[in-house]
C-alpha cells in the first residue's frame, strides 16, 4: 500500500541526490563526517532520522529491507521504521540477515557475517567521537582536520589509571584507515571487530546533527587501545538461554522479582535460526 501522495521512499529526488552525494563523499574519505542538509522527517530526531534518510537515498524498488533495533526485528521502533518504508517505498522486507540487501540498524551489528553487495545503515545519535571531551563543533572539526586526537588518548589513559580498564562499553571509538577517529554509533564494543574488513558497505546517518559518514567494504578499522591494555570486546559471560549460543551478544532479562534472570541473544533472527536448527539453551521451553 504505497502512499501515492509521496515520492518513492518519501524524499523527493533532489533531496536523495544531495544525500547520495554526501554518501559518496563519505565513502571516498572513510570515517570523515560529511555535513548534509538533513530534512525534517515524519519521525522525531533521535529516533533514526539520519538512518532513515540514508536508507531512503539508497533503496531501490528491487531491494529487500531489514530493520533492527537493539538487534531485534520486533522492537517498537524497528517495527515503525520498517512499516514506514513498506508504506512509502513498497519494498519487500525481511527479518533474515542473509536475505536483506539493505539493513538499517540501531545499536547492533548482526551476528551473521555480512556479504558483498549488502548495505548496513546505522542510526547515529552523536556522530562526533570527541563530543564529550569538547562540546564545540567548531573545535572538534579543527581537531579532526589536524588529526589532533591526543585528548582522546588522555581520556582513555585516565580511565585505565582510575579503573584499571578503559571504561567505555559502547560507542567505543575507532580509527579508520589510520586517519580519522570515528564513532561507531552506540553499538556494544563487542561488535567493534565486525566493523573492520567487512565485505558490506557501512553507512552512518546522523539526522539531527546533519552528518553522514561511511566505511567502504574491507576498510581497516582499529579500536583505540594501548599496547599494554589491548582492546577487549567483552560480553556477558553466559551462553544464550534460548539457543545456547556461546559467542553472541546477550541481553539480560529479569524474569521474576527474586533476582532471577536469563541471558538471551540480542540478535533475534540469529537466535531463532539456531533454535530452528535444533540448538537449545538451558531456559528453552
Amino acid at each position: 500500500m504505497t502512499d501515492q501522495a509521496y515520492n518513492f521512499a518519501y524524499l523527493d529526488e533532489q533531496t536523495k541526490r544531495m544525500i547520495r552525494r554526501a554518501i559518496l563523499k563519505g565513502l571516498a574519505v572513510p570515517g570523515y563526517q560529511v555535513p548534509f542538509a538533513s530534512r525534517e522527517m515524519p519521525m522525531p530526531y533521535g529516533w533514526g532520522t539520519g538512518g532513515v534518510q540514508v536508507s531512503a537515498a539508497v533503496l531501490t524498488p528491487e531491494d529487500r529491507f531489514k530493520v533492527i533495533d537493539q538487534g531485534a526485528d520486533d522492537t517498537t521502533n524497528a517495527v515503525s521504521i520498517r512499516s514506514f518504508f513498506e508504506r512509502t517505498a513498497n519494498v519487500e522486507t525481511t527479518t533474515k540477515t542473509e536475505d536483506a540487501t539493505v539493513i538499517q540498524t540501531r545499536h547492533r551489528i548482526p551476528e551473521v557475517a555480512l556479504s558483498e553487495g549488502q548495505i548496513l545503515v546505522y542510526q547515529v545519535p552523536i556522530p562526533e567521537p570527541l563530543r564529550f571531551l569538547e562540546p564545540r563543533e567548531s573545535e572538534t572539526r579543527k581537531m579532526h582536520s589536524l588529526e589532533e586526537y591526543g585528548l582522546m588518548h588522555v581520556k582513555l589513559y585516565e580511565d585505565i589509571s582510575r579503573h584499571g580498564h578503559i571504561a567505555t562499553a559502547y560507542a567505543y571509538p575507532v580509527t579508520v584507515e589510520a586517519r580519522y577517529v570515528m564513532d561507531p554509533s552506540p553499538i556494544p564494543k563487542f561488535d567493534n571487530p565486525k566493523l573492520g574488513d567487512n565485505p558490506a558497505i557501512q553507512l552512518f546517518g546522523a539526522g539531527r546533527e546533519q552528518r553522514i559518514y561511511a566505511l567502504p567494504p574491507y576498510t581497516k578499522v582499529v579500536s583505540l587501545d594501548f599496547e599494554d591494555h589491548p582492546f577487549d570486546p567483552s560480553k556477558a559471560d553466559h551462553p544464550c538461554g534460548l539457543c545456547g549460543a556461546e559467542n553472541s551478544y546477550l541481553d539480560e532479562v529479569i524474569t521474576d522479582d527474586a533476582g532471577g534472570r536469563m541471558f538471551v541473544c540480542s540478535d533475534t533472527d540469529y537466535c531463532e535460526d539456531r533454535q530452528a536448527s535444533g540448538h537449545r539453551g538451558k531456559d528453552a521451553a
Binding site: 523527493d12 525534517e40 522525531p44 529516533w47 520486533d74 517498537t76 563543533e137 571504561a167 562499553a169
Partner: protein, 362 residues
C-alpha cells in the same frame, strides 16, 4: 517478558487507536473544527506557523487539532509536511515599510509619524478570568476607524537621519537557506536570524531574558514593534517582473541598543532585529534581543562568556524539534548499551571489592 515480546506491530496499532480516542475526548461534546481553531486559537496557530516555518493557517490549525493542542507536536507535523513540498523559487524581500499595520508602537518616541497604534493587545488588560466567556463568549462589535492607507515609516529611519544609529546597509547577496543546507559555523547574521525565526519561543525568551539580567546586557529599547500584513511578491522568469502572490501577517521588532563604542565602532545606537510569522510579539522581541547579543563580534565588543552571545550554543539548541526528538529518544530501548554498562560496572565493582578485601587482609 518485555524483550522477547512479539507483536510490537499490534501494540503500536492499538496505542494509535487509543491515542485517536483520547484526542477526540468525550463523544457527547462537539468535535472542534479546524476553522474554529484557526479563528479562535489564532495565537497558537501563529506560533505553529512561525516555528514550523510554513505560513498556512489552515494546516497549522489542523496540526494543532491532530496534536491535541501540544504545540511542539503540531510544529513537528508542519515541519515534516514541509519536507515534502516542492520549492518553486524565492519571493522578493517583503517590504515591512508598506505593512498594513494592526499594531505599531514605539517605546522610544512619545509620538511619531504613523502614530502609536495599540491594536489587539493583551498589554493593558487586567488578567482576571472572564467568567462570561465560560457562558457564551459573544462580544459586542468594537469601534472602527477608516484605514489611512499611508505607508508607516520605520522609527529607526528617524534616528538614522542624524547618524545616531548604525547603518543597516542593503546586502544583495543571496542568503543561505538553513532548511536546504547544513548549519555551519561561523554563521553569518542571515543564518542566525533564520535559525532564531524558527527557534523555540520559550528558549528564545529565556535567552533574551538572560541578557536583560546581565548576561551580556545590551540595553535594548523597543524602537518599534509592528504587526500587520504585507504582500508577498515573486518574480516570474517568463514575465520578467514580479507579481503579488499573496499576503502574510508578520510581527517585526527593531530594538535600539545603547552602545558606548568599541575599538572599531564609534558611540552610536545599534540594532537588534526580529521578524516572525503572524502575531507573535513575545517571540519577535526576544529574537531581536538575542540577535543583538550574537552580534558582539562584528561590533567589536568583548565576549563575556554569556550563553546568549555564544552562537554555537544558541543555534545548536534553539530548535525545539531537534531538542524534543533527542530528549524523548531516551524512551527508546537502550538495553544493548545498558547491558554493556552493566557488565562494566559489575566488573569494576568486583575488582574494587577484591582490592578492599585484600587491603583489609593485609
Amino acid at each position: 517478558m518485555y524483550v522477547a515480546v512479539k507483536g510490537g506491530e499490534r501494540a503500536i496499532e492499538n496505542a494509535h487507536a487509543w491515542l485517536a480516542e483520547e484526542r477526540r475526548g468525550d463523544l457527547s461534546i462537539d468535535s472542534l473544527t479546524v476553522p474554529q481553531i484557526r479563528e479562535q486559537l489564532s495565537l497558537a496557530v501563529n506560533r505553529v506557523m512561525a516555528e514550523g516555518s510554513l505560513f498556512d493557517p489552515d494546516l497549522a490549525a489542523l496540526a494543532i487539532k491532530q496534536a491535541r493542542g501540544d504545540l511542539i507536536e503540531a510544529i513537528f507535523l508542519i515541519r515534516a509536511y514541509r519536507t515534502t513540498l516542492p520549492r518553486f523559487g524565492s519571493s522578493a524581500p517583503i517590504e515591512t515599510g508598506k505593512m498594513a499595520c494592526d499594531r505599531r508602537i514605539s517605546a522610544t518616541f512619545k509620538d511619531l509619524p504613523g502614530g502609536q497604534v495599540l491594536g489587539p493587545t493583551f498589554d493593558y488588560t487586567h488578567r482576571l478570568l472572564d467568567f462570561k466567556l465560560a457562558a457564551d463568549g459573544e462580544v459586542p462589535e468594537g469601534p472602527t476607524a477608516p484605514a489611512t492607507g499611508a505607508d508607516v515609516p520605520h522609527v529607526t529611519e528617524f534616528l538614522n537621519q542624524e547618524g545616531l544609529i548604525e547603518d543597516a546597509l542593503p546586502d544583495d547577496t543571496t542568503p543561505r537557506d538553513l532548511t536546504r543546507e547544513p548549519l555551519e559555523l561561523p554563521a553569518d547574521r542571515s543564518v542566525r536570524l533564520q535559525a532564531l525565526a524558527r527557534a523555540d519561543e520559550g528558549f528564545t525568551l529565556s535567552m533574551a531574558y538572560s541578557t536583560q539580567r546581565g548576561y551580556a546586557r545590551n540595553h535594548a529599547f523597543v524602537g518599534e514593534l509592528r504587526i500587520g500584513t504585507v504582500p508577498v511578491e515573486m518574480e516570474i522568469p517568463e514575465l520578467g517582473f514580479s507579481i503579488e502572490i499573496g499576503e502574510i501577517a508578520v510581527t517585526e521588532c527593531e530594538t535600539v541598543n545603547q552602545f558606548k563604542g568599541s575599538k572599531t565602532e564609534p558611540p552610536q545606537f545599534t540594532r537588534g532585529y526580529g521578524l516572525v510569522f503572524g502575531q507573535t510579539e513575545r517571540k519577535a522581541i526576544s529574537m531581536a534581543l538575542v540577535d543583538r547579543a550574537l552580534r558582539w563580534e562584528e561590533l567589536g565588543e568583548d565576549f563575556e562568556g554569556a550563553p546568549a552571545q555564544d552562537a554555537e550554543f544558541v543555534l545548536y539548541h534553539a530548535d525545539n524539534i531537534q531538542a524534543t526528538g533527542f530528549l524523548e529518544h531516551i524512551k527508546l530501548p537502550h538495553y544493548v548499551d545498558f547491558q554493556s554498562e552493566l557488565e562494566l560496572v559489575r566488573k569494576l565493582r568486583r575488582e574494587a571489592t577484591a582490592r578492599t578485601q585484600q587491603e583489609a587482609a593485609e
